[in-house]
Structure formats: C-alpha cells, structure tokens
C-alpha cells in the first residue's frame, strides 16, 4: 500500500511494520508544558451546530428523557441512512441513526428487555422484526436464563447480585479506534486475514480455535461494514487518514460503528487526544490548519460524543441514573518516568467544557501523575472548580501494571488499548452477604432461603469472632455463585451478541479481564467494626432473622484514617478477591475487582435490610469505596487517606472509586488559592497509590436549590461515582443521596 502522503513527516519504523499505535505516539507526539493562553473560543460553525443540539436536548428532556426511537430498523453498523444536525456547519460527521438523538432498538441482548424499554417510552416495534426475534432467533438473555442455576436466580432476585449484564449489552470494551485512522481499514483487514492463517491460532484447543476463526471472520465483515457506513457519508476509510480532520473523523466513525452495533452499558472511546495532537501539530506546522480550526474539530468531535444514546428500561435507569453512556475519553498520563503525554490537545479537549458548557459526556478522565506539567495540573484544577466535570485517576498507580497506552472504560477500569478487553461483571452486595452470614442465608427482606447449608446466628450480642468466621464462609459461597453467573453471562454474550466491530480493533489474541465488583462496602466494614468494638444486639423476627440492630457504644468508622477499622476494610477486599480467584473463569479470563457502584448504591441500599453499623433498612449505601455519608467526620484528608489504603495492585485492580465533594471556601479564599490547593490535594492523594477520585467543588445550598428549582441550573453537572451527570436528570432519591453525602467544610 502506498502511504507516502498519509504518513509524511511521521517518524519511527516499528509501527509501520506492526499494528502498534503506542509506538507511533511515542515516536511522534510533542509534549506541551505551557499554559492555556493559546486556546481558541467557540467557532461560528460550532455555535450553530451546538445551539441546534441544545434545543434538541431540551426537547428530549421535556419528552421524559427520550426524543425518538427508530422502530422499523434494527441495530447494525450499516443499518441506518446517514444523519446530520446542520450539514453545512458540521465538520465531524456521523450519527447513530438518521436523526440526532433518535435511539436504536437492539434485540440481540434480549427481546423482553428491548420491548420493556419501548413500552416505557410508548413505542411499538415493527411487527415483522418482533416476529423474527420471538419465532426464529434466540437472544443473549434467553441463553443466559437457559443456563442460570437456581442459586444464581435466587441471588439475583434477592438483590445479592444486581446489575448483571444479562439483559443489556455488557459494554466496557474499547476498540483501538485510532488504528483505523493510522492504518486505514484495508490494512487492518489484511492483518486479520493473516491472523486466520496463523500458527498461533492453529495451536489453540479445538473449541477456542474454531471460535476465534468464526469471530475473526465476523470482525472482517464488521470492518467492511465500517467502510460502507463511512462511505454513505462520503468518506473513504479504506486508506489511512491524511490530516487532522480525517484522523478525528476516522476514529469517530470507528467508534460510531460500535455504538450502532451494540448497546453496551459503558461504551468508552479510549485515549485519543495525544494521538489527534500529532495530526493537528503536523497540519499546524504545514500551515493547513489554524488554532481556531483545531479547536473546532475537537469541539465538534465532542458534540458528537455528547449525542450518543441507548434505549434503556426504567429498571436500568434506576440502576444507573441520569442516562449515562460513559463515553470515557482518557487524557494525559505519562509516557515514562520523565515525559508526560500531555499535549495541546489535552487542553483543547478540556476546553470543550468552556466552549460548549459543562456536560456529563464524554466522561473526561485525566490520568494524574506526579510528573504532569504544572501548567496542565493547574488548568485541570481550574476547570474542575468551574465545571465539576473531570475525574482523576492515578497514572503512577496504573502505569506500572498497564503500560503507557491504556485507557479507562466506564469509570475506573483500566485496559491496554487493543490488547485487553473486559467481561463486565457488575457487583455483589457484601453488606447483604454479612446479613446472610448472621441470618443463615435467609434474606432479611423476602424471608427466602437464598444460600443453603449455613446455620443461623442465635447470639444475644453478636461476637466478632463468630460473625467474622461465618462471614468468611458465606463470602466463599457467594463468590462461587457470582463467578458462575458471570461465566454464563459472558459465554452467552459472546455467542449471541458479539461485539464484532469493537473486537476487530483489538489484537486477535487478546487478554480478557473479568471484572467483579463490590457494593455496600463501607456499610459492611463499619458493621464489622461495630460488632468488634461496640455491643451489637440483633432484633429478630419470629423466624430468628435479624431485621434490625441495637448498638451500644461507639466504634471506629471507616473514613477517618483509623487503622483499627481501615484494616478491616483492606482485609475484606482482599478476602473477597481471593474467594473469587480460586475459580476457573470463562476463556481463561484474568479476574479483577472494583469498588465502584456508580449510582447503583441507592438501589442496592433499597434492597438491603438494616445493617449492624446502624444503617436503617432501605437507606442508600455509600457509593464505591466511599465512607458512609457523614461518618468521615474528622476531615477531608482522613477520608482520602482511608480510601487510599485499599490495595489496587493484584487486589482491587479494576478500580477504587472515590467521590469527593468539597465546598469552594474550604479549598481557599480565592480562585488562585483554590487551584493551588486542589493540585496539592490531588498530588497528595495519588502519591499514596490511590486510583480514582471524582471532584465536586460545590455548595450544598446550591444543590438543594437546584433540586427545588431545576430550571435555574440547566447545565449543573456533578460527578457521581465514576462519571458525571446532569443533576436535573437524577430522580429525587438520587438527588437527595448526593446532597446527603459528606461535604467537606471548613470547621
């Protein structure tokens, strides 16, 4: 292939011979250490496009959160006619369907779930399609339920395991979309064809070998489809991108294909800003692009990402509030100990929050490192204070494990781009697991025997030794059920709803991570502490099931940098992970674990009875790894220190999510001080090996006002456990939960 034009001026050879975007970036990017003075305001064209989108978004909001659904055409890369917002002013093209914000019906995940979602929004599916799926075609959801064990069904029904991706797309897979821009699709197809004939695949065991051949053939078809789809917009993706505008367009089309094909919960886009910057820098140097045009490209790319939508059921919305899509874009981080991957486009991307106002999507995620340029750190802090729309993750914590070309899927899940994928496994309720240990496996709400073969606790005052031993035993039993569920789910997902376009942008032999999770963490930990350090008396119903607890005396609470309880926390995470990793995983996946609930902490709490830490029945859990609301009362830094103790490497390696809210005055008297101090806090937090923090700098009064007068705050974006949401899109229960979270104030 003749690539003289496309690759003109690019250095390095490795990446030319092998598909290796990381080496292309390392050889060609220009680190930027300056400040934000160069940034350009919103362009005329972008203003035109964005104002049309804003009107549509408002309409969508008024329409109960869904503007339109395509009911005649099913999901697929080439299924939809090209769509535009304002063709003459758009500079980056492509929509999921033929109209902005019109949602796709995806039946492959499950017929029932798709129909429920349609019904909730008063739409009816085309009759032929419905007949096809109810008569001839089996779905992921049906496959899963054919294989689920009775124990899994009980665990699921009683809220021990919730949010499992057994009726919706699992997501969390990030194609290396940059490959399409750098190599063009023809080259990628050529490589995949070579893989089909490779000895490595030939040497695989019978079943895995057959399966990979089938999958790679599907991947090749998907790559062809991406070309066809782009062609309908007038672009030729068979060849590499020639300039910045094409590079961004190619990457976006590749991503868009996945968003047309699948409805994965979190469909993140990877780590593109430094890659884009190489093209932008080349065009700027060649005098064919101005700063205004560069910003225009990035702004319009971001507009497109803000319009990604999936059709969801009310149940799903209850779990993940605010209609999130987790189009996570990972920014900055380090190349090595000395050089950062910060470029001018890292600034340009964050600057979209100013040019286009704050927004929940794309989920802008900065990889924070000690070695990031000071100017960039300060710029991040400034934008955080202004918009609350950035999350931070510890690059110095993750880079040693994932190298320098990983990206974040969803909220906190790191994976090497194009080399690792994830089987998303939702979460297990460890607070409920503790109640099961006390109640002999009987659910405290339904009264049903969920876990069998364990004795009920009859102690008048709970003794730590006994409860802890029973808890360990229960954790082992629950872990087994949890692993079984995920093995089944991903087997069926691969079989019935395979993400061909996204997997086509991975190496053919890919490492699979299976991501398990914990909910109700701080309640479980504080409960153990209460039993150990105070007197906890269960109040039992007529069947001997503890439905409430009397607590006599005080006990150390997680979130105060108190090792007596923080040790219980770190032990619990390790123990649960150990209980998981003894089991064999589907496709030899590597197990990982996260403390991340997103907003499901509210729903999990609703499904869980009173806990021995004094939490009332139905009360929301704290999100992710957060201390329980109001219990981290000895200061913000103690709260951070407790969370930072949770071990990431080889334990909670799918993420430790911490949502941190602070009132502006507690950060400093003026903007300059607030910026400096926020930088210091982030440095201090991550130096300890912490992995993630959401930063909200806001006043509680403002949130209460926003809850009561939503119209006054159309753009109020806040960070909730790993992603940002528009505050007005949360229901009242979630709004109240956010307001009740600990705000760190000046004493």
């Amino acid at each position: 292939m003749n690539t003289t034009n496309e690759w003109k001026g690019f250095k390095g050879e490795n990446w030319k011979n092998n598909i290796d975007v990381a080496s292309f970036i390392a050889s060609n990017f220009t680190e930027y250490k300056g400040n934000d003075d160069f940034l350009a305001p919103i362009s005329f064209k972008t203003k035109e496009v964005w104002s049309k989108c804003e009107k549509l978004l408002e309409k969508e909001n008024k329409n109960g959160g869904c503007l339109d659904v395509e009911t005649n055409i099913l999901s697929g890369i080439t299924a939809f006619a090209p769509g535009y917002i304002d063709k003459k002013n758009e500079v980056i093209f492509g929509l999921q369907t033929d109209k902005p914000l019109k949602r796709i019906v995806n039946m492959y995940g499950g017929t029932r779930v798709a129909l429920k979602a349609l019904e909730a929004h008063n739409y009816e599916l085309n009759k032929d399609t419905l007949k096809h799926f109810t008569t001839y075609r089996k779905t992921h959801n049906e496959g899963v339920f054919d294989a689920y064990t009775p124990a899994i069904r009980r665990a699921r029904k009683n809220g021990l395991l919730t949010g499992l991706p057994d009726g919706y797309g699992r997501g969390r897979i990030i194609g290396d979309y940059r490959r399409v821009a750098l190599y063009g699709i023809d080259r990628l197809i050529e490589e995949k064809k070579k893989d089909l004939l490779s000895e490595e695949i030939d040497a695989l065991n019978l079943e895995e070998g057959i399966r990979i051949r089938e999958e790679v053939s599907e991947q090749i078809r998907a790559l062809e489809d991406i070309k066809t789809m782009a062609n309908s917009y007038g672009f030729d993706l068979s060849r590499p991108a020639q300039n910045a505008s094409e590079a961004i367009q190619w990457v976006y089309f590749a991503y868009l294909a996945g968003a047309k094909e699948n409805n994965g919960a979190a469909t993140s886009i990877g780590r593109n800003s430094t890659f884009f910057d190489i093209y932008i820098q080349r065009d700027l140097e060649n005098g064919i692009l101005t700063e205004e045009q560069a910003q225009e490209l990035i702004d319009q790319y971001v507009i497109k990402l803000r319009l990604i939508r999936h059709l969801r059921t009310p149940d799903y919305d209850e779990l993940f509030a605010g209609d999130p899509t987790w189009v996570t874009e990972t920014i900055a981080g380090m190349l090595d100990e000395d050089k950062s991957l910060t470029t001018k486009t890292s600034f340009r991307l964050l600057h979209t929050l100013i040019n286009l106002n704050p927004s929940a999507e794309p989920n802008l995620t900065v990889l924070w490192a000690k070695g990031l340029p000071e100017n960039f750190k300060r710029y991040c802090a400034k934008i955080s204070i202004k918009t609350d729309s950035i999350q931070y993750e510890g690059d110095d914590t993750m880079r040693p494990l994932y190298g320098n070309d990983y990206a974040i899927a969803c909220c906190v899940s790191a994976m090497r781009q194009g080399k690792q994928m994830q089987f998303f496994g939702a979460r297990c309720n460890l607070a409920k697991t503790l109640l099961y240990a006390i109640n002999g496996g009987i659910d405290e709400k339904s009264g049903l025997q969920v876990i069998k073969g364990v004795d009920i606790n009859t102690e008048e005052v709970l003794t730590y030794k006994k409860v802890r031993k029973d808890y360990s035993n229960m954790i082992k039993k629950v872990a087994k059920i949890y692993v079984d569920a995920n093995n089944i789910i991903h087997y069926m997902h691969d079989k019935y709803a395979y993400e061909a376009s996204q997997m086509a942008l991975h190496d053919t032999v890919v490492e699979r991570l299976m991501a398990f999770g914990i909910a109700g963490f701080s309640s479980a930990v504080d409960s153990l502490s209460a039993i150990k350090y105070a007197k906890v008396k269960p109040i039992r119903d007529e069947n001997g099931v503890a439905i409430d607890f009397e607590i006599d005396g005080d006990f150390p609470k997680y979130g105060n940098d108190d090792d007596r309880v923080d040790k219980l926390a770190t032990e619990l995470v390790q123990e649960f992970f150990d209980a998981i990793k003894v089991h064999k995983l589907y496709r030899n996946a590597t197990p990982t674990l996260s403390l991340l609930t997103i907003t499901s902490n509210v729903m999990y709490g609703q499904k869980t009875g009173a806990t021995p830490d004094g939490r009332k029945a139905g009360e929301a859990f704290a999100p992710g790894a957060n201390p329980m609301h109001g219990r981290d009362c000895t200061g913000a830094l103690n709260s951070l220190n407790s969370v930072a103790k949770i071990k990431y490497e080889n334990c909670c390696q799918d993420g430790v999510s911490n949502t941190f809210s602070i009132v502006p005055s507690a950060l400093g008297n003026n903007e300059e001080e607030q910026i400096n101090n926020l930088v210091s806090i982030l440095d201090g937090y991550f130096i300890q090996g912490a992995q993630h923090i959401n930063v909200n700098v806001l006043n509680r009064d403002l949130l209460i006002d926003a809850m009561n007068n939503p119209w006054k705050y159309p753009n109020l974006t806040i960070r909730v456990s790993g992603y940002a949401v528009n505050f007005n899109k949360l229901d009242r229960a979630h709004q109240e939960e956010v307001i009740n979270r600990t705000f760190h104030e000046k004493k």
Partner: protein
C-alpha cells in the same frame, strides 16, 4: 510540655499559604464582639492536650497533601498565651523544614523568641484607634502596639486581617485608616478583610454566653471584596 487545644484542622486553607495543619489553642485575653471561637476564651476550656512531637507526627500524616507551600499554623484563641509550647513546637518544625505561622491578635506573653523564629505572622488587626479597639475587644491597645513595634523591628513578614462588621467598620473611612496603618509597617505581604458572619451564634448558646451582635446582619461578601480592593 503540652499545648492545650480546642481543635485541629487538618486541611486548613484559610490560615496561611497552601494547605496547612491548624492548631486552635486555648486562652485569650480579648473578648471580641464577633469572636467565632468563644470556646477558646478560657484556658480551662481546652479539649485536648498535645505535645510538640505529636504535632509533628500529625503533620507527617498529611504532609503529602501539604506539598511545598503548606505548613503549620498556630491559631486560637491567642497562641501567644502558650508561648513555651508554641516555641518548642516551632523549633521542632523548623528542624524538619516545615513552614510555620502564628495567627495572633498580638496580645500575648513571652513571645520574643517565637517572633524571631516564625516564618509568618498573621496579625488580626481589631481596630487601629484606641476607642474602637476597646469597644470591640474590651481592652486597651498597649499590648497590640508593642507587638506591632516588635514585628517591625524584626522586619517580620505579615499578613494583616480585619473582620468587617456591618455598621461597625464597613465604611470607606475605616478602610482608609487601616490602609494608613498598614503603610507604617515594613513587611506586609497581604491584607485580607474577613466578612463577619453569625455562624458562631450556636456556640454561644451552648456555652451560655450572651451573643452581643444579635441584631447585626452578616457582612455582604461582595461588598467586603470591594472594600478589600481599596487596600491594593
């Protein structure tokens, strides 16, 4: 030797440069109208005793957050009423290259050596004329004037502060007088006006002390900012 304190703020961002450990020491000779820490007035009202070594340990626990700009601030109450403890602690902190500040009204005892060692003095200027000073604090200005003279002799770096209370000192005339006062000092790095707020009211009720500014509204923050501009 221990210090008697009422509280420790581990993420202090208002009392000195950067993020700091702030100790609130017990005891004060002044009885300012607007005092927001009345629990510190009596030395016997302390809640905790702390040694210099414990202060250092505490600092080290959070030092990753304090970074290059942060440090330790002795506030109160009046930190210069526990001079021996403050001096010992400052010595220990200085040995460890930690930035130190005192947040004082300048009405203390035996503080000469502290003044020589401490990096920054945050001086609460209650008022610059005798009548008003007495009206706000209940005491004459002699101690304050002596403290100011000593700071000047040492060329000590100063941050000046004044609490602005509606109908007491929130007019331009007062601000110009403060500016005039500041110009007589050698090394003023910053002047801050702090808007009066009534958030401490509940503390007074708990302590059974009469709150004397019951009918005074909170100081408007924007107006306070405007007045602050006059000082530049």
């Amino acid at each position: 030797m221990t210090g008697k304190i009422t509280n420790i703020e581990t993420m202090g961002s208002a009392d000195g440069p950067g993020i700091r450990l702030v100790l609130f020491l017990s005891g004060c000779k002044l009885r300012c109208l607007y005092c927001h820490n009345p629990e510190t007035w009596n030395m016997s009202g302390f809640r905790q005793e702390i040694t210099s070594e414990e202060v250092l340990t505490k600092y080290n626990k959070y030092k990753v957050y304090y970074g290059a700009n942060g440090g330790v601030t002795f506030s109160g109450g009046e930190p210069l009423l526990q001079s021996e403890f403050v001096l010992n602690t400052i010595k220990l902190l200085k040995q460890n290259n930690i930035h130190t500040a005192i947040d004082t009204a300048g009405v203390g005892e035996n503080y000469d050596e502290i003044l020589q060692l401490v990096d920054l003095v945050i001086l609460d200027v209650k008022a610059v004329d005798e009548v008003e000073y007495k009206m706000i604090t209940g005491r004459d200005m002699a101690d304050f004037n002596q403290f100011v003279a000593k700071c000047n002799n040492l060329n000590k770096k100063l941050w000046l502060r004044q609490v602005i209370v509606p109908n007491v000192n929130d007019d331009e005339h007062h601000i110009l007088k403060l500016k005039q006062f500041a110009s007589t000092l050698n090394n003023v790095e910053r002047i801050e006006l702090l808007p009066y707020h009534s958030m401490a009211k509940s503390k007074y009720a708990e302590l059974g002390i009469k709150y004397r500014l019951d009918t005074t509204p909170n100081m408007d923050k924007d107006r306070c900012k405007q007045l602050e501009k006059m000082l530049k």
